[in-house]
């Protein structure tokens, strides 16, 4: 008698994911008002200051939001009148999560965004944005770490991403 032993199948533990797509807002050719959204992480103020200076004479609206939690409706509303929003800084897990998710909230309101992440957390930010259907979320990477550095070192790292910001915005 020939006996065949067959192992029972086992089931896949992974959760299914719904495919969705959110369109990114195009960047404006010209713009007057820029929201600078600061999640209060160390060094963020300096990074945003360096980036703002590179954009020349424009109106800057400064908004503070919590790092590891969503921006309040008031903070989002305050930002929503701008032509462009720059968000910083995603240099840890929860702050990177909520920088991505708040950027998506603004994109859904029609505000084009550019978000700043440290290069260590940028891959996670891209993955998260993709999970939410917006794989092309605009992300600029600054060299990790930022926290724990003195102001000069942060400024030095921020200056390195200025050419990338100007390139994205097509500013010569």
């Amino acid at each position: 008698m020939r006996v065949k032993l067959t192992e029972k199948d086992f089931l896949n533990p992974l959760g299914e994911v719904e495919n969705k797509k959110i369109d990114l807002n195009p960047l404006p050719y010209d713009f007057d008002q820029v929201s600078l959204i600061n999640n209060t992480k160390p060094g963020t103020e300096i990074i945003l200051k360096v980036l703002a200076e590179s954009l020349g004479n424009r109106e800057f609206l400064r908004v503070k939001k919590p790092a590891g939690t969503p921006a309040s409706e008031r903070e989002i509303k305050k930002t929503s009148s701008s032509d462009l929003a720059i968000l910083a800084l995603g240099d840890c897990g929860s702050c990177a999560s909520w920088l991505v998710l708040d950027a998506i909230r603004l994109e859904k309101l029609g505000i084009p965004t550019i978000s700043i992440f440290s290069d260590h957390f940028a891959p996670f930010a891209r993955q998260l944005a993709e999970s939410h259907g917006i794989s092309d979320l605009r992300i600029l990477e600054v060299e990790h770490p930022i926290a724990g550095l003195n102001n000069d070192r942060v400024e030095e790292k921020a200056l390195k991403i200025v050419p990338n910001l100007l390139y994205i915005l097509q500013i010569p």
């Binding site: 006996v3 992974l14 959760g15």
Partner: protein, 396 residues
């Protein structure tokens, strides 16, 4: 489990009825059916097929290599095992109960059951897991932040009500220790759901710098029999005889050893001293603080005439540290949180999540929360029509 082969006719198998084979009257074209008088058709690949459980060692390694586990061996989630768990759900297996970030995976009863089987749960734990998963998906819990953070936050799961006895949870001596199947595997199953459904894989969707041993399992029942005050679920508006599951984003527990205090204030001062530390999230973003008080400590305080609210007020009012030490976290300390040049680590007395658990001994445990970045969620164990259930037996 065994079963006779079903007859499958292809070019290599004849499908001859057994009666024909036994009578040496094969109907297949091979005509070469009898070998060594065993009277079985030789064109069959097998005469008998045994379906056996997958080798746990092999499946564990396979799942581990696919990053489906916490590193410990798992029970292979076969259809039979998963179905036993689904007997306890009130939902359809494919209903989406929650969407879990960061991967935005759909948590269905079946996926929860698969991960619970893997964790070594008993089928009767299914409803607890489902409610825990729904609880962590509530907005105010902030699973987006809790899963992704560099902070070593785990999810503490506290069970209240008759369910504690019905599923055999440990609420007494060693309730946080490795031993009890419910305490060990409910917490583990929740973590496996976060890994496999939410995508909270260390270094991928979970960025905790070191992580925490509490991420393996941090689950216990409240010792309601020895609690001199109202238990957590009653404090939160549920009936004593209803069962609930509470989830809290919490650090690993830290011991408070006090064998000598005879009065409430002295004992609470020891707890406060342990809790009031720089470097926890509560220091720069005040939020919830979990106190797992031993029955003996609770009795000492109660005998001094203190209510649960008195305890919560005292801990809230006296747990503070200097702004210089407080303002060293990731988020900048909000100046609104500075009062009389001190920063309180809780926002209100309600932030002091006080439960009584454990056995004899004069040790209390404290766990800092995720600061103000997450709020505890308490969910009743309910049926679809929203009736609170008093017994897990209602699900059978």
């Amino acid at each position: 489990m065994t079963r006779k082969d079903e007859i499958i006719v292809d070019k290599n198998s004849c499908g001859c009825p057994i009666d024909n084979l036994v009578d040496d009257k094969p109907s297949c074209k091979n005509k070469k059916t009898i070998i060594n008088n065993d009277r079985l058709c030789d064109s069959r690949k097998s005469d008998m097929e045994f379906f056996v459980d997958p080798d746990p060692e092999k499946v564990s390694l396979d799942f581990y290599q696919n990053r489906f586990t916490d590193g410990l061996p798992i029970i292979p989630p076969t259809r039979e095992r998963v179905n036993r768990f689904l007997n306890y759900t009130i939902h359809n297996p494919e209903d989406v109960l929650a969407i879990l970030p960061p991967k935005m995976g759909q948590a269905t009863p079946e996926k929860i059951a698969i991960n619970s089987v893997m964790a070594g749960c008993l089928p009767s734990f299914q409803t607890v897991l489902e409610q825990a998963i729904i609880a962590v998906s509530v907005d105010k819990f902030n699973l987006e932040g809790v899963n992704a953070t560099t902070h070593p936050v785990s999810i503490c799961t506290i069970i209240n009500g008759p369910l504690i006895d019905e599923i055999g949870m440990n609420a007494s001596v060693g309730c946080l220790a490795p031993s009890n199947i419910a305490n060990a595997t409910i917490g583990r199953a929740l973590r496996l759901c976060l890994i496999n459904i939410a995508g909270a894989i260390p270094g991928v969707g979970d960025h905790a710098t070191q992580g925490s041993p509490a991420k393996y399992s941090y689950c216990f029942g409240e010792n309601e029999e020895e609690n001199p005050w109202e238990p957590l679920h009653v404090e939160r508006g549920f009936n004593l005889h209803e069962s609930t599951v509470t989830v809290m984003a919490a650090e690993s527990p830290h011991n408070v050893n006090d064998h000598r205090s005879q009065y409430a204030e002295d004992l609470l001062d020891t707890i406060i001293h342990t809790a009031t530390t720089a470097g926890c999230n509560n220091s720069h973003v005040p939020g919830e603080l979990l106190i797992i008080m031993s029955p003996e400590h609770a009795r000492t305080i109660k005998q001094d005439g203190w209510s649960k609210k008195d305890v919560q007020n005292y801990i809230h009012e006296n747990s503070h540290l200097s702004p210089i030490l407080a303002d060293r976290g990731g988020s900048k300390l909000d100046e609104k949180n500075i009062r009389d040049n001190q920063v309180q680590i809780t926002r209100s007395p309600q932030d002091v999540v006080l439960v009584v658990a454990g056995g004899p001994g004069r040790h209390t445990m404290i766990s800092h929360g995720f600061g103000g970045g997450s709020e505890t969620v308490t969910m009743p164990i309910t049926l679809k029509n929203c009736f609170n259930q008093k017994s897990v037996k209602n699900y059978k």
